[in-house]
C-alpha cells in the first residue's frame, strides 16, 4: 500500500490511460507529475475535476497528453496556460470542453454506479453543441422541460496529493470532498502525501471526519512538499516566484524546454 518509491506508486498510470486530477485548490500531485514526465508517459487522456493549471500545462507541454476534458486550464493570477494554449491553437491535443458542475456530476454518476446524471443549464450553449456524448431528454416528471444528461466518468486512475495517510491506506482529505468522489469514481487511486500518520485515522473521530477509506486507494507515496510549486491548503502556500518564472519561460517552446531541463529532468524538488 505504501510504496517504496514515488515511481513504484505511479506504476498504475500507464501510457494511454484515463487520468483524473483535481483543481489547483484541492491538492495537486506535482512531484508525481514531474516523475511521470521523466518516465515519459504518453497518450494520457487527462480529466480535470473540474479545472487544472500548472499540472495540465506541464503534461501537455511535455507531450504526455493526447486529449483533455476540462472546464478550464489557466495559471490564474499568473495568466493563461501557455503550453495548453499553444497545443490547442496548433491542434496538437483534443479538448473536450465542459463546465465545472458537469464534471462534478459525471464523477458523481460513476461514484453512485449510475450510467448518467442530469444537469440544468447548458441548453443553447456551444459547450453542449460540441459534446456529442451528452444527451438532451425531456424531463419525464414535467411537460416540455428539456434537460441535459451527462454520461458517468470512470477514470482508470485518480491522482492527487494530500496532507496525511496512515499505514492502513486511509487518507486525510479534509474539506476537499471531491477527492473522495474522484477516488470512488476511479478504478484505481494513487495518492502522494506530506506525511504518514501513526496509528489509524479512524481512531480519532475528528480526523475520521476528513478521511477517505483505504479500500479505494491503490498506492501511496510519501512526498513531502509534493504539491510544490502549488499550494497545499492549510499547509503551505504557492511558490509565487517560481510560478512567475514558469509563466515567463513557458511562453515559448524553447523556454519551456529549458524549464523542463532545469526543474523536471534535473529532478530538483521532485
Amino acid at each position: 500500500m505504501i510504496a517504496r518509491t514515488l515511481e513504484e506508486a505511479l506504476a498504475p498510470i500507464t501510457d494511454g490511460c484515463v487520468l483524473a486530477v483535481p483543481r489547483e485548490a484541492s491538492g495537486v500531485a506535482m512531484a508525481a507529475t514531474r516523475a511521470l514526465i521523466r518516465r515519459g508517459v504518453s497518450g494520457l487522456h487527462l480529466i480535470a475535476l473540474p479545472t487544472s493549471s500548472l499540472q495540465a500545462d506541464l503534461l501537455i507541454g511535455a507531450g504526455c497528453v493526447e486529449a483533455i476534458e476540462t472546464s478550464a486550464v489557466s495559471l490564474g493570477e499568473f495568466g493563461p496556460a501557455p503550453r495548453f494554449t499553444a497545443a490547442v491553437t496548433s491542434g496538437a491535443i483534443r479538448v473536450k470542453d465542459a463546465t465545472c458542475p458537469a464534471l462534478h456530476a459525471a464523477f458523481q454518476a460513476a461514484e453512485k454506479g449510475v450510467p448518467f446524471m442530469p444537469l440544468r443549464g447548458l441548453l443553447g450553449s456551444d459547450v453542449l453543441a460540441h459534446r456529442k456524448d451528452w444527451k438532451v431528454i425531456g424531463n419525464p416528471f414535467d411537460d416540455d422541460d428539456p434537460i441535459v444528461l451527462l454520461p458517468a466518468i470512470r477514470p482508470d486512475v485518480a491522482l492527487f496529493h494530500a496532507p496525511l495517510a496512515d499505514r492502513e491506506g486511509n487518507i486525510w482529505i479534509g474539506r476537499d470532498r471531491e477527492l473522495a468522489t474522484m477516488a470512488h469514481a476511479a478504478t484505481k487511486t494513487v495518492v502522494t502525501v506530506e506525511k504518514l500518520h501513526d496509528g489509524s485515522l479512524f481512531d480519532d473521530h475528528l480526523l475520521a471526519a476528513g478521511a477517505l477509506g483505504g479500500l479505494y486507494v491503490e498506492a501511496i507515496a510519501l512526498v513531502p512538499n509534493g504539491a510544490w510549486p502549488l499550494a497545499l491548503a492549510d499547509h503551505y502556500g504557492a511558490d509565487a516566484a517560481h510560478l512567475g518564472e514558469y509563466a515567463r519561460m513557458a511562453a515559448s517552446a524553447d523556454g519551456f524546454a529549458a524549464y523542463l531541463d532545469r526543474h523536471v529532468y534535473a529532478q530538483r524538488a521532485a
Partner: protein
C-alpha cells in the same frame, strides 16, 4: 474568473489621481457593484475577482452582515465543506443570489465566450475555458458581468463561441441570467425582455461617444445618460479601513496596490 486586471499602478494614500477625483477607479467600480448587489442574501465570488470581492464585502458592511459572502479561494470567508461541487449545488438550490462572470468576448445579447476566437477545432485564440459559466449563468438570479477592458475586441457584435447564452427559450429552465455589465468606462443594464443592453451610466471622466466608439455591439441609451455616482466619503472609509484588510488573505497584491494594506505576518 475575470481575466487579468488592467494595470493600476502604485497607490499614494489619499492622493487624488487627478484634480477632479479623490478616489481610485477600483473604488468607484466596487461602489457601483455594491449598489447592484444591494440587499441580496448570498453573494459568491469566483477566483481572480478582487473588485467584485471588495464590492461584496462593502455591501456586507453596509448591510450589517447581509449579504452572506462566499469568497472562493478563501478558507476563512468560505463555508463550503463539500468540495468544489458545493458552490454549484448551492446555486442549484437557489441559495446564491449574485455571482460574477466575465468573458474574452461578450456580445450585445449577453452571450459570453470564455473558450476561444475562430474555428472551435483550430482556434486563432484560445481562452482558458468556460469554468462554471455554462451552468451558473442559468441558475443565479443576478449575474453581474464584469470586464474591465472595454473595447471592440472584448465587447463584440456576436461571440465566436457561446459558453453561456444571455437569454434562453421559454421552455428552458432559467431562473437566472445577466442583470448588468460593468466595465472600466460605464455601467450597462441588461434588458432580458428585449435581449439587449442599455447604457445606465458613464463613469466620471468618460463620455457616451467614447463608450459608443469602443463598444462592438449596439445598445440603447437615453439622450441624457447620467454620470456614475462617485463613492461617498463614508463608502471610501469603509473600503479603505474595513474591506481592504479583509481582502489581504485572498488578494494580497491587490490590497497592497489599491489600498496600501499589507498582510500582518
Amino acid at each position: 474568473m475575470d481575466l487579468p486586471l488592467i494595470s493600476i499602478g502604485t497607490y499614494m494614500p489619499n492622493a487624488p489621481r487627478d484634480a477632479l477625483q479623490t478616489f481610485r477607479d477600483e473604488e468607484l467600480l466596487a461602489d457601483v457593484i455594491a449598489g447592484l448587489i444591494s440587499n441580496a442574501r448570498h453573494v459568491a465570488i469566483g477566483a481572480s475577482s478582487p473588485i467584485p470581492a471588495a464590492a461584496a464585502l462593502l455591501a456586507r458592511q453596509r448591510g450589517r452582515g447581509r449579504p452572506y459572502v462566499s469568497l472562493l479561494g478563501s478558507r476563512r470567508q468560505n463555508f463550503f465543506t463539500d468540495g468544489g461541487r458545493e458552490l454549484f449545488d448551492c446555486a442549484g438550490q437557489g441559495r446564491i443570489d449574485v455571482f460574477f462572470l466575465s468573458g474574452g468576448q461578450i456580445d450585445g445579447e449577453g452571450n459570453i465566450n470564455l473558450v476561444g476566437i475562430g474555428d472551435y477545432a483550430r482556434p486563432a485564440v484560445r481562452f482558458p475555458g468556460s469554468f462554471g459559466s455554462s451552468y451558473l449563468y442559468y441558475v443565479v438570479p443576478k449575474v453581474i458581468l464584469f470586464r474591465l477592458e472595454h473595447s471592440p475586441r472584448t465587447l463584440v457584435e456576436k461571440v465566436d463561441f457561446v459558453s453561456a447564452p444571455g437569454t434562453s427559450a421559454d421552455n428552458v429552465y432559467r431562473p437566472g441570467g445577466p442583470v448588468a455589465l460593468v466595465t472600466s468606462r460605464c455601467l450597462f443594464a441588461f434588458d432580458r425582455g428585449n435581449r439587449c443592453f442599455e447604457l445606465a451610466s458613464v463613469h466620471p471622466g468618460h463620455t457616451v461617444a467614447e463608450v459608443v466608439e469602443n463598444t462592438g455591439f449596439d445598445f440603447d441609451h437615453a439622450t441624457q445618460v447620467p454620470v456614475t455616482r462617485s463613492p461617498s466619503a463614508e463608502t471610501l472609509r469603509i473600503l479603505r479601513s474595513i474591506v481592504a484588510p479583509q481582502l489581504v488573505e485572498v488578494y494580497p497584491q491587490f490590497a497592497a496596490q489599491v489600498f496600501g494594506v499589507r498582510a500582518v505576518a
